[in-house]
Amino acid sequence: MALLQIAEPGMSTEPHKHRLAVGIDLGTTNSLVATVRNSIAVCLADESGRSMLPSIVHYRADGSIDVGQSAVLAQASDPRNTIVSVKRFMGRGLKDVAHVETMPYDFEDSPGMVRLRTVQGVKSPVEVSAEILRVLRLRAEASLGGALDGAVITVPAYFDDAQRQATKDAARLAGLDVLRLLNEPTAAAVAYGLDNAAEGVYAVYDLGGGTFDLSILKLSRGVFEVLSTNGDAALGGDDFDHRLFCWALETSKQSPLSSSDSRRLQIKAREAKEQLTICEEAPIHLKLASGDEINLVITREKFAELTAHLVQKTLGPVRKALRDAGLGPEDIKGVVMVGGATRMPHIQRAVASYFGQEPLTNLDPDKVVALGAAMQANALVGNRKTEDDDWLLLDVIPLSLGLETMGGLVEKVVPRNATLPIARAQEFTTFKDGQTAMAFHVVQGERELVSDCRSLARFELRGIPPMVAGAARIRVAFQVDADGLLSVSAREMSSGVEASVLVKPSYGLSDDEIAGMLQAGVERAGDDMAARALREQQVEADRVIEATEQALAKDGALLDATERAHIDEVLAALRRLRDGDDHRAIKTGIDALARATDEFAARRMDSSIRSALTGHKIDEISV
């Protein structure tokens, strides 16, 4: 028989009407599932009472699949078929993945997303993630006593459309109905109830096992905007373990250990680190295979000293994220701590002293993201009071959407953090006389150059009536629906010809990692400006060269040989400069060509006026 949960006053549901919803933190190292029960968000544990499911999938030769704890050991025995940290491959091409050469996998660079050859055939990261999600779904259904109505799944704030779509696909494959994807820092803020707080700016400090992320969020009118993100993809709690491991080796003066001893000492180091969170000192005691013993005691103070540089290293991204957001530590209203490594007292002290306030630590930092996702899921399926409806968070565009314009520059049409659904339109025009077609290239990213952004789609508008350059008015409309699906349409206003494209983000077209792109967008603002100036001058040079060539072809007879030779020379000089990378030199060349053709232009004008007047009486001409 069904077991009942306690409802909020007046909120008892009709029998069989309570909707089961969960929040899932699909993490790089560990994943969790949570739900709201008896009005309280809780993580759901497996039969052994463990909430955290290691994000590891082992494809066995006999056709069975192990997920989580049971796959942990296979990492050493069968590395090629044991996929860890699959999240790094979601929506990514082979060239987007860092350190491929050090990974034990057999990669296949298929178009779009990278794939992995395993003993059970070629698997895409979507399928591997789906195995993890399926285990969490089954756990949730067993715990809640019924099929799930929906799930909210969290993703890093810097995930782009392709990575988000890949996550949604994995959920669908696992039999989950995705109510919404939620940014991880936003979920953590929700768990702390910050969404009900007054408006303000919050920092989310997320130090996981192997990665560090810092997000600056701004809450206004029920929308969490991601103002900036920064981080270090190769810094996490594991580095603290490793530092302690090295210290134990040095202090005990042991020669290099066997790999089995080494692994055991690493485990001891981690245990000692965890103990130091509660105690002032912790023993590291290990009997080696050789019979020797390592017998040490580490104090909290010593550990803090050993790892001080690691703590300092997290503050770099903190400073950068604040700078990107144009804020100082004093502007931050609250700091949320996420990730098991933030339990270390000296990290909490460092964060408190940097921000000048105690960070929020009363929720379990390993669970806080899943708990926030569960609260959001509970609200989305309608298990909350109607007056709380405004509690619903709105989705935002994670990275700006725009179009390629002449010279490989990006014209942003929909800015980052715009709330969904959204429609934005902008007018463009033709570049050349008599141009009858226009190619549109839809891109996503924060950088100024198309080559630094992710390409989403291309389409063409044909049948534009021939007009002089700049006379056609082409209205391009971007529309993003509530599910994040983008459609772009272009319409020439005088003739009404139209073309459109529906963008289902295609995987792996990116050149750069988006995580880097967000920060790079600000870090490299200087480079971008120079690049932009160069492209602008190149475009201008092309325009001037083409106009001069046309004029020479048409009215070259107006020039004598010397004049013609001079213009040709200046023209050739500009062509050479145009291919260089000095925008100032190109500008000089353009100016030189303008001066050289001044007289020629005047003569052309006279000549065209003469021909226009020929055969007309003076009074026929109105001025």
Binding site: M1, A2, L3, L4, Q5, I6, A7, E8, P9, G10, M11, S12, E14, P15, H16, R37, N38, S39, I40, L44, A45, D46, E47, R139, A142, S143, L144, G145
Partner: protein
Amino acid sequence: MGVTLSESAAKHVSTFIAKRGKGVGIRLGVKTSGCSGMAYKLEFVDEMHDEDLIFDSHGVKVIVDPKSLVYLEGTELDFVREGLNEGFKFNNPNVKDACGCGESFNV
């Protein structure tokens, strides 16, 4: 007689109220609906009504409205685990038959 909580149910209710941060007790009730005629109501209580009856069970206030008490007289609320699932269960001596899921019943 009245309505009681098992020790386990009382312990869990107190924990939930503490975590929720407010609430004077728990309301047990019935309403007419569901596939077998009646359905249980189980809610936190922030405000009591004048006609409410209050039973004290293992230190937890159990609140029942007089109309519901007719159907609940002698009921014990238990907290049980079934595999990974856990929750509250009404042990109601008045029930003649219940629908398979146990969410609604007949007296």
